[in-house]
């Protein structure tokens, strides 16, 4: 018969200790993974050397020699592949950031529309979601590029979308009913703006380029000041609410500050902005800002496509808030707007934010479909053209993977931080 051992827990052999065992297995697994990675690297570089391929990252310093049609920084054919990488990366980020912002706005509108008690609006929202999310994205990009933007007229037959013709027409209309002073105001505004400035053709959308004059930095300072004031106002309003229970219209005041202060500065300085107007010369417009159709098509497709998914995320999030919450809020006498803002949205956000992150990541990664329409994103100019000119597939694919991974992880970190912040409110 066995007896209980006196004093302390039973001793076990080291190899039977569960802690030691689990650490041992994890160490074995780690060694195996590292060994695989090492074998992979050594093998690949040996094979490449055996076949006479250069390896390493020296190619980033070589001259690229090819042109790129949209660059956010200065770039010419004499620049290096390293600069090509930066140009491509910025073009990818441009699409990703603008795309995420607009997809979120459109997605929220459509998601809320689907919940509308209005039969027509709800059905329209539903039809949008079901149509857009069931068509392949590449097809939609090509649709916008070839079927919509591709049918625009050539540069010499551009469609002018001037603000000036509209304003002077309004001025003429007002003059006809005798209000000369107001009419003159419109006309001089039209004259100040100058000749038609927005053109639409198959080379893209051409806009006047704003040139900032002397003293414009004061406007920027006014803007920064307004933002700081708005933040201070919010803190003060919250404290007052906690202390006295009285609310303050923070939103409207902040809006007034952020718009009003820079505007006042602008007017006080005598509007130090002039415009460089695009002019048709030779083959195309010279001067002004131009949005290339590849960018426009890609953004339209990505925004509308991702918005369909975001709409469903938003709808799901709002529906996840129990009905009793809004009933209770209404019973307490909160108005509908306040109920939505203070009760429903904060609770819905908890459900919305994680899948919304997924959609942001999808949009960013889907932007590599740009290669189908010749938009010069990272994937097209770096993992495409540069790879083809330098033949350094492993390095370039590795860099490209690392970049997409980094963008995605940064997005995730930001969204997780936001999510944690949203959730903290419920723990107070």
């Amino acid at each position: 018969m066995k007896q209980a051992l006196p004093g302390g827990p039973p001793r076990v052999a080291v190899h039977n200790n569960p802690k030691v065992r689990s650490a041992f297995y994890q160490a074995v697994a780690l060694v195996l993974v590292l060994a695989c990675a090492y074998a992979f690297t050594v093998n690949a570089s040996a094979n490449l050397r055996a076949q006479g391929f250069a390896s390493g990252f020296d190619f980033l310093g070589n001259t690229a020699g090819f042109g790129i049609n949209q660059t956010l920084i200065d770039y010419s054919e004499t620049d290096t592949y390293g600069r090509v990488f930066v140009v491509g990366l910025l073009n990818t980020l441009l699409v990703a950031v603008i795309g995420c912002v607009f997809a979120t706005i459109l997605g929220f509108i459509i998601g809320i529309a689907r919940l509308s008690p209005n039969w027509l609006i709800a059905r329209l929202g539903g039809a949008y979601v079901e149509t857009i999310r069931n068509l392949p994205l590449l097809f939609q990009i090509l649709f916008w590029y070839l079927a919509v933007l591709g049918t625009m007229p050539g540069p010499r037959q551009s469609i002018g979308l001037g603000l000036q013709p509209v304003l002077s027409a309004i001025g003429d209309g007002i003059a006809a009913i005798g209000l000369t002073a107001i009419a003159d105001g419109f006309r001089s505004l039209a004259a100040w703006i100058g000749p038609p400035d927005i053109y639409l053709n198959n080379r893209g959308v051409i806009l006047p380029r704003p040139l900032l004059g002397d003293g414009f930095e004061w406007v920027a300072i006014a803007f920064g000041l307004a933002v700081l004031l708005a933040i201070g106002l919010r803190v003060w309003a919250r404290q007052r609410l906690d202390a006295t229970g009285r609310t303050f219209p923070t939103g409207w005041t902040a809006f007034g500050l952020i718009v009003g202060l820079p505007l006042a500065a602008l007017l006080a300085l005598g509007v130090p902005i002039s415009f460089e107007h695009p002019q048709l010369r030779g083959f195309n417009f010279v001067g002004g800002l131009r949005l290339i159709p590849e960018l426009v098509a890609l953004l339209f497709a990505l925004v509308t496509y991702t918005a369909a998914y975001i709409a469903e995320v938003v709808r799901g999030g709002i529906l996840a808030v129990p009905r009793g919450q809004s009933e209770a809020a209404l019973a307490l006498g909160l108005r509908r707007g306040l109920t939505l803002r203070l009760i429903i949205v904060p609770q819905a956000l908890r459900v919305i934010v994680p899948p919304l992150t997924n959609q942001f990541l999808n949009l960013t990664k889907n932007s590599s479909l740009a290669v189908g329409i010749g938009y010069p994103d990272l994937f097209a100019v770096f993992a495409g053209t540069t790879l083809n000119q330098t033949h350094q597939a492993i390095e370039i694919i590795a860099i490209t993977m690392a970049v997409y991974l980094a963008i995605s992880l940064i997005t995730s970190i930001l969204m997780n931080w936001y999510n944690a912040r949203t959730n903290r409110r419920f723990e107070r």
């Binding site: 992979f40 690297t41 093998n43 690949a44 040996a46 094979n47 490449l48 055996a50 076949q51 006479g52 391929f53 020699g65 090819f66 042109g67 790129i68 049609n69 010419s76 054919e77 004499t78 070839l146 591709g150 050539g154 198959n202 080379r203 010369r281 030779g282 083959f283 195309n284 010279v286 290339i292 159709p293 590849e294 590599s368 479909l369 290669v371 189908g372 329409i373 010749g374 010069p376 994937f379 097209a380 100019v381 993992a383 495409g384 053209t385 790879l387 083809n388 000119q389 330098t390 033949h391 597939a393 492993i394 694919i397 590795a398 490209t400 993977m401």
Partner: protein, 336 residues
Amino acid sequence: MKRAIFTFGMAIGFGLMVAPATAQTLKAVKDRGSLICGVSQGLPGFSNPDDKGNWTGLDVDYCRAIAAAVFNDPSKVKFSPLSTKDRFEALKAGEIDVLSRNSTWTLSRDATYNFIGVNYYDGQGFMVRKGLKVNSALELNGASICVQTGTTTELNLGDYFRSNSMRYEVIAFATADETIKAYEGGRCDVFTTDVSQLYSEKLKLAKADDHVILPEIISKEPLGPMVRHGDDQWFDLVKWVHFAMINAEELGVNSKNVDESLKSNMPEIKRLVGTEGNFGEQLGLTKDWVVRIVKHVGNYGEVFERNVGSGSRLGISRGINRLWTKGGIQYAPPIR
């Protein structure tokens, strides 16, 4: 995305490859029973599938000639259509045995692959709409230009505009079809590529007569098939298939008279058709290798005329692609 997966897959495959592929291509081709040949995604005259999926063209006939030499059957070829972007990776990773895809011979490419020779001497040119009333490439300042990405064309374009201090906007597409579609849709004023390709792409345009090819040739574009580094036997074999076709033309041996040439007493012809010497065997082939090539596919002149020359829809004149004996620069070392 598909391309990313493709390229990435190749990178992985490359890393996992246990031993570098050497001197195995001919054996692999024989074991497989067919040649895998990388071609374009559709370029009339060079490599183009018809509505039944049969490939024709100058580059395609080179693949068929290799298959004829190895198997005595020009149909034992599998064609793998590749974009300009993917072509070299496919060759590097061993997806194809030979890349016969109107690719320009350059130093940097030759340093990583082997060019077997020049089967078409080409140069880069420009196509514009007649309506623009442009007569010279030097009038193209400020133009929008459609180009296929990953090509020497893209680099020559940069050089040309830079050296003439002209501005341009480049729009680079991944496939030839996307590029020509964008040009036709008016996205660009100019379409630029090798002149041979300009002629063949022009045929695809709805109103071919509204477009004109400008006289300037801005680059040397010697086009030819390529093989991987590290397999000298296969390199020699493919190279001599090319030389055999040129030698056959030079000696007047063609697909119609090749059987009679077996009875010829001319020593050069005897060596060519294998009635004297064992030249085919030195390449790992049979003695009658040239007979097989010429009977099934034809000599260089026949292949040229049938696909891109006066006998074809493209109607390009032989020009510098004539034999050296006729004022051109096509020349092959002797079989001896």
